[in-house]
C-alpha cells in the first residue's frame, strides 16, 4: 500500500476530523440569548447546585457542524448493506416515518385524558390484533420496551402461572446456540440455567432435551429459526415434551422475519414469544431508535399479562392501569414499564403491516429467506458453511476456510470495512468456531447481493493466497484504523475529564 498522505489540518479531504464536544468548549459562548432571570427564592434547602456543571459553550452553527461531522462517520442501513446476522437490519420505510410524524401521533402525551387518545388506543389495539393473528396467539402484552424486556415479560408470566399452581420450579433450559439475553433473562427471574446441546444438524438435540426435562423445569427458551439460521424441525415434538413435563415453551421471536405469514408460532405449541418490532416490523434500531418488544401469549398465560392493557369498555377503548376483577386483569403480574410502551414504534410497525398487507408480509419472509439462500449458495464453495443448507433468513459460515491462512474472522471482518461493507455478526453463535453470521434481509436487491458476494469471494481468495499481513492491518481506509478492543475492555475510559483536572487527579 502507498503511504497515506498527511494533511496539515488533520482533516482528510472532506472527511473532517472532529474533537469531542467538550474539547470545543468556548467559555461564555451560547446558542441562545436569554434574558437574565428574575431573582427567585431558593427553596431547595441547601441542595442547590454549588458550581457550574461544566456544559460546553458552543454557538448553534458549531453544534450543528459537530453533530453533522460525527454523523458522517456513521454507517447505517440508509448508507449500505448491513448484514448483521440475528439483527434483521432491514430498510426503514419512509412511509413509516411520515405517519409517525403526524401531529396526532407525534405530539401525544402519555398523561392525556383517555377520551382524547381514542385514536392512539385504537392504533395499539389494531396492531395487537395483527400481531396476535400473525402468531396465532390469543393475547398480547404491548408494553415491553425491546426484545430482552419482552423475554423478561414472558418469563414473568410463566413464573406467575407456575406460582398460581403453587410451584414456580427452579430451572430454565436454554440451547447452546441461544442469544445471550435468554440465559440472562432466566437468571434475572431467579431460575438456574441448564444448557441443551445442539445436534450435528445445528438443531436442538431432542434426546438430550428430554433427559433434562422434569418437574423442576419451568420453561425452555428457544429461538426459531435458531441462531444458526435453521428452522427447528422438531419443534412440535419439543413443545409436546415440554408440556408433558408441565413446563412452558418460551420462543425468542428475534428471527420471526423468516416465518411471518408462513408459520403461526401458536400452532407449534409455543406459549409465549416476543416480537422485535424493530427487526421484523422495520422500525429503526441500532442507534436509530428505541426497540419495542411486545409479547404474544397463549391462553394459559394470558391472565398473567402485565398492565397496562387496552380493553374495549362501554365508553370506547380503555387503558387498564390497575388490576380489575371486572376487566379480567386481576391475575396480572403487574406493571413492567412506566407508561404504555413505545408508541412511536407501534405507529411505524402498523404502517409497515398495513402498507404490506398479509400477502406482502408473506413475501417479506420469502424474500428474506431467498436472499440468505442466494448468499449461501454463492459462497459455500469458498467459505465453509457450518451446517448444510438450505437456511432460513441468515447463512452461518465458520472459520475453517481460514485455517492455516493466519487470517482470523475478526481480520476478515475488518477487511470488509475497507471494501465498504458493514461486517456480518462475528463469533456468534458460539456453537461453531469463528462464526460469520450473514443476514441480508429482504431489503437487498440482487445487484446489491452480487456486489457483496463478489467482495466476500475476493477476500476469501486473498486470505487463501497468503496475504495475512493485509488482513492484520485492516481496516486501512476507515476513518479510524483497528481499535484496540482488548484495551478498551480492560481499561475502559468511560468519562471525559478536562486535561487540567486529569493531571491533578
Amino acid at each position: 500500500m502507498s503511504k497515506p498522505i498527511e494533511t496539515s489540518s488533520g482533516h482528510r479531504g472532506l472527511d473532517l476530523a472532529e474533537p469531542l464536544i467538550f474539547e470545543l468548549d468556548g467559555p461564555g459562548r451560547c446558542g441562545v440569548d436569554l434574558p437574565e432571570p428574575d431573582a427567585v427564592t431558593n427553596r431547595l434547602g441547601g441542595l442547590e447546585r454549588q458550581a457550574a456543571i461544566g456544559l460546553p459553550g458552543l454557538s448553534e452553527p458549531q453544534v450543528v457542524r459537530h453533530f453533522v461531522r460525527l454523523s458522517r462517520n456513521n454507517f447505517a442501513i440508509d448508507a449500505g448493506l448491513y448484514p448483521l446476522g440475528s439483527c434483521t437490519m432491514k430498510h426503514n420505510p419512509r412511509l413509516n416515518e411520515k405517519v409517525a410524524r403526524l401531529p396526532g401521533f407525534a405530539d401525544l402525551h402519555p398523561m392525556q385524558p383517555m377520551e382524547t387518545v381514542q385514536g392512539a388506543l385504537e392504533l395499539i389495539d389494531t396492531l395487537a390484533e395483527w400481531l396476535c393473528a400473525l402468531t396465532g396467539m390469543s393475547a398480547i402484552a404491548m408494553s415491553p420496551a425491546a426484545g430482552a424486556h419482552g423475554e423478561l415479560c414472558g418469563l414473568m408470566c410463566i413464573r406467575a402461572a407456575l406460582e398460581a399452581k403453587g410451584d414456580a420450579r427452579q430451572v430454565v433450559l436454554v440451547p447452546t446456540s441461544a442469544h445471550g439475553t435468554n440465559p440472562a433473562t432466566a437468571a434475572i427471574c431467579g431460575y438456574r440455567i441448564e444448557e441443551i446441546p445442539a445436534d450435528d444438524r445445528g438443531r436442538v438435540d431432542l434426546a438430550a432435551l428430554k433427559e433434562k426435562l422434569g418437574p423442576h423445569v419451568a420453561a425452555i427458551m428457544l429461538t426459531n429459526p435458531n441462531t444458526c439460521g435453521l428452522f427447528e424441525t422438531q419443534i412440535v415434538e419439543i413443545a409436546e415434551a415440554v408440556h408433558a413435563a408441565g413446563a412452558y415453551f418460551y420462543c425468542d421471536g428475534a428471527n420471526f422475519n423468516a416465518i411471518v405469514g408462513k408459520v403461526r408460532p401458536g400452532d407449534l405449541g409455543i406459549d409465549c414469544m416476543h416480537l422485535n418490532l424493530h427487526k421484523t416490523f422495520s422500525t429503526p434500531h441500532g442507534g436509530g431508535g428505541p426497540g419495542s418488544g411486545p409479547v404474544v401469549l397463549a391462553e394459559a398465560l394470558a391472565p398473567y399479562a402485565p398492565l397496562p392493557m387496552v380493553v374495549r369498555g362501554a365508553d370506547g377503548l380503555e387503558l387498564v392501569e390497575h388490576k380489575s376483577e371486572a376487566l379480567g386483569t386481576a391475575a396480572s403480574f403487574g406493571r413492567l414499564k412506566g407508561f404504555h410502551g413505545q408508541m412511536g414504534m407501534f405507529v411505524r410497525a402498523l404502517a409497515f403491516i398495513l402498507s404490506h398487507g398479509a400477502d406482502g408480509l408473506r413475501q417479506v419472509s420469502e424474500d428474506a429467506v431467498l436472499n440468505a439462500n442466494y448468499v449461501l449458495a454463492r459462497l459455500q464453495d469458498l467459505l465453509t458453511l457450518s451446517f448444510p443448507g438450505p437456511c432460513m433468513h441468515e447463512a452461518l459460515f465458520d472459520d475453517r476456510f481460514l485455517q492455516g491462512t493466519g487470517v482470523s474472522t475478526l481480520d476478515f471482518a475488518k477487511a470488509m470495512i475497507d471494501e465498504g461493507f458493514h461486517p456480518m455478526t462475528m463469533y456468534f453463535p458460539l456453537v461453531v468456531s469463528g462464526a460469520m453470521l450473514i443476514e441480508p434481509t429482504e431489503s437487498e436487491s440482487k445487484d446489491s447481493l452480487d456486489q457483496f458476494i463478489a467482495t466476500m469471494r475476493h477476500l476469501a481468495e486473498r486470505a487463501r493466497q497468503g496475504d495475512a499481513g493485509y488482513f492484520a492491518g485492516a481496516p486501512h481506509l476507515a476513518p479510524y484504523r483497528r481499535l484496540n478492543e482488548t484495551q478498551a475492555a480492560r481499561q475502559p475510559v468511560l468519562r471525559w475529564r478536562p486535561a487540567v483536572q486529569e493531571a491533578a487527579e
Binding site: 463469533y427 458460539l430 478492543e485 482488548t486 475492555a489 480492560r490
Partner: protein
C-alpha cells in the same frame, strides 16, 4: 512430587500434596483470545467437583470455570483481576486461578492426564 491433570472443559490442576493449583489450559487461552475479565472464588469457599467456580471473559466470549475436584479454596490469584492478560501470557504458570485443598483425591481419577488431554484437543485444533 507434583502431578498435572486436565478436565474436558480445559481446566488444569497441578497437585502437590493435598493442594491443587488450577487454571485454564494453553489451548483454552488460545481459543478465548484476549482475556479482559475474571471473577475468582473467595478463599474459604467449599465446592463440589464440577461446581461453577470462576468466570472468564474475553473479547469473544464469556465462559465458566468449574472445580476439577471437590475441596476448599485456599487462595485466589488476585493479580488476575487487574491483569487478566497474564492468563494469555502464561496460562499454565502465572495465569493460575485458584488453589484448592483437595477433599477426595480419588476424584483425580476422573480427570485426564497430559497425554489424554493432548489427544482430546488434537481433534479440536
Amino acid at each position: 512430587m507434583s502431578e498435572i491433570y486436565y478436565t474436558e472443559d480445559h481446566e488444569w490442576i497441578l497437585v502437590e500434596g493435598d493442594i491443587g493449583t488450577c487454571g485454564i489450559s494453553e489451548f483454552a487461552q488460545e481459543q478465548l483470545g484476549d482475556i479482559v475479565y475474571v471473577e475468582l472464588p473467595e478463599p474459604g469457599k467449599v465446592v463440589a467437583q464440577n461446581d461453577e467456580l470462576a468466570v472468564v471473559e474475553s473479547v469473544k466470549a464469556a465462559s465458566e470455570i468449574y472445580a476439577p475436584v471437590s475441596g476448599e479454596i485456599t487462595e485466589s490469584n488476585d493479580e488476575l483481576v487487574d491483569e487478566p492478560g497474564k492468563i494469555n501470557e502464561d496460562a499454565m504458570g502465572d495465569g493460575w486461578f485458584f488453589k484448592i485443598r483437595i477433599s477426595d483425591a480419588k476424584e483425580l481419577e476422573d480427570l485426564l492426564d497430559k497425554a489424554a488431554y493432548e489427544a482430546l484437543i488434537a481433534g479440536q485444533r
